[in-house]
């Protein structure tokens, strides 16, 4: 297994290089002037052709490919991803400010994915019957036929439009006052729910939670619907295996047979897929945050795309691609750790 991990770690920089290079190629489809615009805060500079030329050379935007890439990467590593028109601040700042909101959303969304997707999946497999089979299967298929944005709009419509329970956004105005401008509130983690608890402020905690529920439901639906189905079939498959019968033949009680002998095996592929689903939710935040005007990086990226704010979109892509690569690595390594057949090669 060690050689496997080493191999994956060695591949990591290669993949990162490939990803950033690909993005650079896409970026280079734009003219040097257009690219220059992403680094400039003051649009009036562009009206001076001489200035434009000088700046193009300074930023190495006209250099042959490999050099251009190197300079671009150097800038990124220094934190300079250009200027975000959509946020009116440097891209890196825009990301730093908005990322905690997205992180909070994704972290909470993992809960239903695991609870319903895995836990319920195991239970439904144990109580196996055809009616349940069909119901779960249909739920899962509807789940992945229902685009996130339609589902989100539907949730928004019912729970806010009609019922008024779950408003869009991250915080109500009064809590925003306290959290962002008030002197009594210390933001330790920038995850509002945690900070509210750390500050002992229950009303804000509840307010934040209220705003999170609808986006969490929307973001996680497709993931847990899919996972539910996979867990169920993995568990059903495993329960039919010979070693389950062996366990029973030893007089092992049914609970241990299911939750130790069967589940431990059934979970191996499920954990991998769960990991990938969670990483996949990264893509889903764009839509979810847009539907609920939730001020995270996804919302920012969507509005940036609309405004043709290239630097923001590319910066966003670099960020999320990195997450995906690291996430995949973690998932792959944990698979190797969980399965003794792989771990002890």
């Amino acid at each position: 297994m060690l050689s496997y991990i080493i191999r994956r770690l060695l591949l990591l920089p290669i993949i990162l290089f490939g990803v950033t290079f690909l993005l650079f190629c896409v970026f280079s489809l734009l003219s040097p002037t257009a690219r220059l615009a992403t680094y400039i805060t003051d649009a009036s500079t562009l009206r001076n052709p001489e200035m434009v030329q000088r700046l193009i050379t300074k930023h190495h935007l006209n250099d042959p490919f490999p050099l251009g890439y190197i300079h671009w990467i150097k800038k990124i590593l220094k934190g300079d991803m250009g200027w975000s028109q959509a946020a009116n601040q440097p891209v890196w700042e825009a990301i730093k400010q908005r990322f905690p909101a997205t992180l909070e959303l994704v972290l909470y969304s993992i809960i239903p994915v695991i609870l319903v997707g895995i836990w319920l999946g195991v239970i439904s497999a144990v109580h196996h019957n055809d009616m349940l089979d069909q119901t779960i299967r249909v739920t899962a298929i509807i789940g992945w036929s229902l685009p996130t944005f339609i589902f989100g709009l539907f949730v928004l419509f019912i729970f806010y439009g009609i019922l008024g329970w779950l408003p869009p956004g991250r915080l109500s105005f009064w809590s925003q006052d306290i959290v962002y401008t008030g002197t009594n509130f210390r933001s330790y983690t920038h995850l509002v729910t945690i900070d509210a608890l750390l500050n002992g402020n229950i009303p804000i905690f509840l307010d934040a939670l209220r705003h999170l529920i609808a986006p969490i439901i929307t973001l996680s639906y497709i993931s847990w619907a899919f996972l539910l189905r996979i867990t169920r079939s993995s568990m059903l498959d495993t329960l039919r295996k010979d070693y389950v019968r062996t366990a029973r033949s030893k007089g092992v009680d049914e609970h241990t047979v299911i939750h130790l002998h069967a589940q431990k095996n059934a979970m191996i592929p499920v954990v991998t897929i769960a990991g990938m689903q969670i990483i996949g939710m990264l893509g889903g935040v764009v839509i979810t945050e847009t539907v609920f005007t939730y001020p995270g990086v996804g919302y920012w990226a969507a509005s940036a795309a609309q405004q043709l704010d290239y630097s923001s979109v590319i910066g966003f892509a670099v960020l999320f691609a990195t997450f995906m690569i690291v996430g995949n690595l973690i998932v792959d390594v944990s698979y190797a750790l969980i399965d003794p057949r792989v771990r002890l090669e």
Partner: protein, 311 residues
């Protein structure tokens, strides 16, 4: 083959899927009859009014628009928005009907090209092995490192707005699944006893590929393709919803939903009065994708026992 078709029709869910697909095909084919275009570009949704707020179902074409048609000399074949209008007066019903054609176009074209590219790359990778395999698989990994929507977003932002750019983006980041799939199938098949048996009997390589390898590797790809049509259409709709896909007024379901977000809440006192702006295009998207997924899911079930070597 016959068994497959029989099974497809006997299973309730796939039957529902097939019926739905059939209905959509009818709609797409007879679009010019069901919703006659009122201009030269049939994919441009006609406007029933200049008003910004959506109009309820049953709304009649406003006079100032009517006058324009009269001036241009175009025959006004119909003038009632049976499903209401979206923001900007665009007739929803028309969008639904011609959007069906758009959906089929997007789904079939993107999947076809993505599958072709994927199968090509995957086959080469599996056939040559060694260095070529390593490099091609690393490239596949690189492309796979982007969340699909994010990658499509980047490409459409850079390339510009428009459904064709959306399709390019979808194809560019949609081929990897097929490459891996066919590569896996071929590698497995190469080891299969029956291939070795055929070789031992002296059967020519080409014949082996044609009669043995191809049938066993193409079917999973076809199943995958069927299931992907749905997700391609969803992603295209999502991009249009975000405003980076089809231009405003284009007959595309996703585009029709894009402004609905602002109106979903309704006006004070009339919660949900603009429900139709989301409901109609939404239900079409869901049913269309559902149809493909139901069929694909059943196909996959048919494939499964064969994979496991039973019957």
């Amino acid at each position: 083959m016959n068994r497959t078709i029989r099974k497809l029709f006997s299973n309730t869910s796939s039957l529902v899927g097939i019926v739905l697909l059939f209905i959509f095909i009818i709609i797409a084919v007879f679009a010019p009859v069901i919703a006659p275009p009122l201009s030269d570009d049939p994919y441009q949704i006609p406007r029933m009014s200049w008003d910004i707020p959506p109009q309820p179902p049953g709304f009649l074409m406003s006079d100032n628009i009517r006058d324009i048609y009269v001036v241009m000399g175009t025959e006004i074949k119909w003038d009632k928005a049976i499903c209401g209008t979206a923001e900007g007066g665009y007739d929803i019903f028309y969008g639904l009907i011609w959007g069906t054609r758009t959906a089929f176009r997007i789904g079939l074209i993107t999947v076809a090209f993505a599958a072709l590219i994927g199968v090509f790359i995957g086959s080469i990778s599996a056939y040559f092995g060694g260095w070529i395999d390593e490099i091609l698989m690393r490239i596949t990994d690189i492309f796979l490192s982007f969340p699909f929507l994010v990658a499509a977003m980047v490409l459409t932002t850079i390339l510009g707005r428009g459904l064709d750019k959306v399709m390019i983006a979808l194809i560019t980041f949609g081929w990897m699944g097929y490459a891996r799939l066919i590569r896996g199938s071929i590698l497995l098949a190469k080891e299969e006893i029956y291939v070795m048996a055929a070789k031992a009997l002296g059967v020519k390589d080409v014949k082996i590929i044609w009669k043995h390898l191809l049938p066993n590797t193409i079917f999973p790809v076809m199943v995958q393709a069927t299931m992907n049509i749905g997700s391609m259409v969803i992603t295209a709709a999502a991009l249009s919803f975000l405003g980076v896909g089809a231009p405003v007024g284009y007959a595309d379901w996703g585009q029709m939903v894009s402004f609905a977000r602002n109106w979903i809440i309704g006006s004070p006192g009339h919660a949900g009065q603009y429900w139709y702006t989301v409901f109609y295009p939404g239900i079409f998207i869901v049913l269309f994708v559902l149809a493909w997924n139901l069929v694909g899911d059943t196909l996959r079930d048919i494939l499964d026992p064969r994979l496991r070597g039973e019957l």
